[in-house]
């Protein structure tokens, strides 16, 4: 039911762990719903220089987390904010229908880390990126 790419990112997740010099940390999801993603970014000169993640969740949650760290690494903030849940899904060669919400989690994770970065810089993220959202409800 999972593509080879999903299985690869699940079994060998990239960029797992924490980032000591992180200046943007986001956490999304809810243990009640069965997935939580925490993402650490080090942003400098408007570019995501480094990224790590930790995820509690099913195979798809871990794989979408992993691929999204690959997608944002080296990208500008604007480029990273443009990454949609669809782009995450496509990068994994698709996800089963009932797992699509995991790609939403990854998109939200990226946004939440960037919003945290803005706040730490004393910038209100809302006018730039709209609601940074952290869904309390299960998708």
């Amino acid at each position: 039911m999972y593509s080879e790419k999903v299985m690869d990112h699940f079994a060998n997740p990239r960029n797992v762990g924490e980032l000591e010099n992180a200046n943007g940390i986001g956490q999304v999801g809810n243990p009640k719903c069965g997935d939580v993603m925490k993402i650490y970014m080090y942003i400098k000169d408007g570019v995501i220089q480094d990224v790590r993640f930790k995820t509690y969740g099913c195979g798809a949650a871990i794989a979408t987390s992993s691929i999204s760290t690959e997608l944002v690494k080296g990208k500008t903030i604007e480029e990273a904010l443009d990454i949609s849940n669809r782009a995450v899904t496509e990068a994994l060669d698709g996800l089963p229908r009932e797992k699509l919400h995991c790609s939403v989690l990854a998109e939200e994770g990226i946004r939440s880390a960037i919003a945290d970065y803005y706040r730490r810089q004393g910038i209100d993220p809302e006018p730039i990126m709209g609601c940074a959202l952290n869904c309390a409800e299960c998708h």
Binding site: Y2, M7, F10, A11, P13, V16, G17, Q27, P31, K32, C33, G34, D35, V36, M37, K38, K54, T55, Y56, G57, C58, G59, A60, A61, I62, E98, K99, C138, H139
Partner: protein, 387 residues
């Protein structure tokens, strides 16, 4: 990665050699229709009759109390919907439990839409109902009590004899879904005062797609499928002769070897349970004592079930989980929630179910593998660091 350990015998079992040999003649030269009057048909008819006797003897029933069905699910549907149809004028109240298999649970939920009133008895942390609750719930319009014999997810075995006695005293029909019990623990429909009982062959090393409903003589049930009047007019459709013969052979063998094999499987299960409970923040689910011989079910905190199942699979171990992600729904299994586990813990469930083919080496291999999987997933879980 040549190693393969099948530890999902509660999901299905490997067809036994005995069952396969009992089936083959009816798939090959003995292909006749049991309703045909010529020799080829009569041979198939005789095989059916013998299979019916074998199945009946294995559960303490008489042959004419056995009706073959296409699955355990079908037997559950027939029993429950049939009683509702026949007794619906007399009463609209059905008593069941919060931990039934979907074959029962979704069936009574469907009846609720048609004006039936269903009581779902709550369960304690081991998954047990209270017999006092059951007695207190009985009303003058109660027409059916349906309680499973043993639970497929957590392995808990229910006091069926006591429940049967309560139903009989109160003149209420008693159905039990014995799909996980038959062939694994002693079952006697007469001694246990069971009126209706569902069986499924593939849980005791028979083939898939064949089951049976035991209907105590004197209990009236409507025809479930109309047509050519097979199964004494109650369940039409040309009989699955090979399936039925395979079911009977598998059941006969399981019951004959039950004492020895269950002792062996229990010993393996207990080793598995003791070993896995060494993992920190791990709980056994279900009754630690009154549980199915092969069932070892757990929750591991801060890790998600499907992720564990996939990594077990990568290591050659087949097991299952009641997490939301494994079931394709948003909530973890209703059974795990009913025993009082919070959602976030119920998502971390793994069920290992052993059968007679499992060896001590299998258990050792699981004990070498699963703790590392839990550790690996916890190391990448943001919940574990908070914990």
């Amino acid at each position: 990665m040549s190693r393969f350990v099948y530890a999902d015998n509660a999901a299905t079992t490997r067809l036994s050699e005995t069952a396969l040999s009992a089936m083959l003649p009816w798939l090959q030269e003995g292909f006749g229709n049991p309703s045909s009057v010529y020799r080829l048909g009569r041979a198939a008819r005789r095989a059916l009759d013998e299979a019916r006797e074998t199945v009946a003897a294995a559960i303490g029933a008489k042959p004419d109390e056995i009706f073959f069905t296409g699955s355990g699910t079908e037997a559950d549907n027939w029993a429950i919907r049939g009683v509702a149809e026949i007794l619906g004028q007399k009463g609209r109240h059905i008593i069941t439990t919060a931990i039934e298999h979907h074959a029962v649970d979704h069936t009574v939920k469907d009846l609720e839409k048609h004006g039936f009133d269903v009581t779902y008895l709550p369960v304690d942390e081991y998954g047990h109902i209270s017999l006092d609750d059951l007695r207190a719930t009985i009303r003058s319009d109660t027409i059916l009590i349906t309680v499973m014999f043993a639970n497929n997810e957590i392995g808990t075995i229910y006091p069926i004899r006591e429940i049967g006695a309560i139903a009989r005293e109160n003149g209420i029909l008693f159905h039990t879904d014995a799909v996980q019990a038959v062939g694994h623990i002693p079952v006697d429909v007469t001694a246990m005062e069971i009126d209706l009982m569902s069986l499924s062959a593939h849980k005791f090393r028979g083939p898939k797609g064949i089951g049976a409903l035991y209907v105590r003589k004197g209990v009236r049930l409507p025809s479930f499928i109309t047509g050519g009047a097979q199964e004494r007019g109650k369940r039409s459709g040309t009989e699955n002769v090979a399936g039925i013969c395979g079911m009977a052979a598998a059941l006969e063998e399981s019951v004959q070897t039950l004492a020895a094999s269950s002792a062996k499987i229990e010993a393996l299960r207990d080793k598995l349970i003791a070993g896995l409970l060494q993992i920190p923040r791990t709980q056994l689910t279900g009754d630690p004592v009154n549980r199915l011989p092969g069932s070892a079910s757990f929750v591991f905190e801060c890790v998600e079930g499907e992720a564990m199942i996939l990594l077990l699979d990568a290591a050659g171990i087949a097991a299952s989980s009641g997490s939301a992600c494994s079931s394709g729904s948003l909530d973890p299994s209703h059974v795990l929630l009913a025993i009082g586990l919070p959602h976030e813990i119920a998502h971390g469930s793994v069920r290992l179910s052993l059968g007679e083919e499992n060896t001590e080496a299998d258990v050792d291999y699981i004990l070498e593998t699963l703790p590392n999987i839990v550790e690996k997933l916890r190391a990448m879980s943001p919940l574990w660091e908070e914990a």
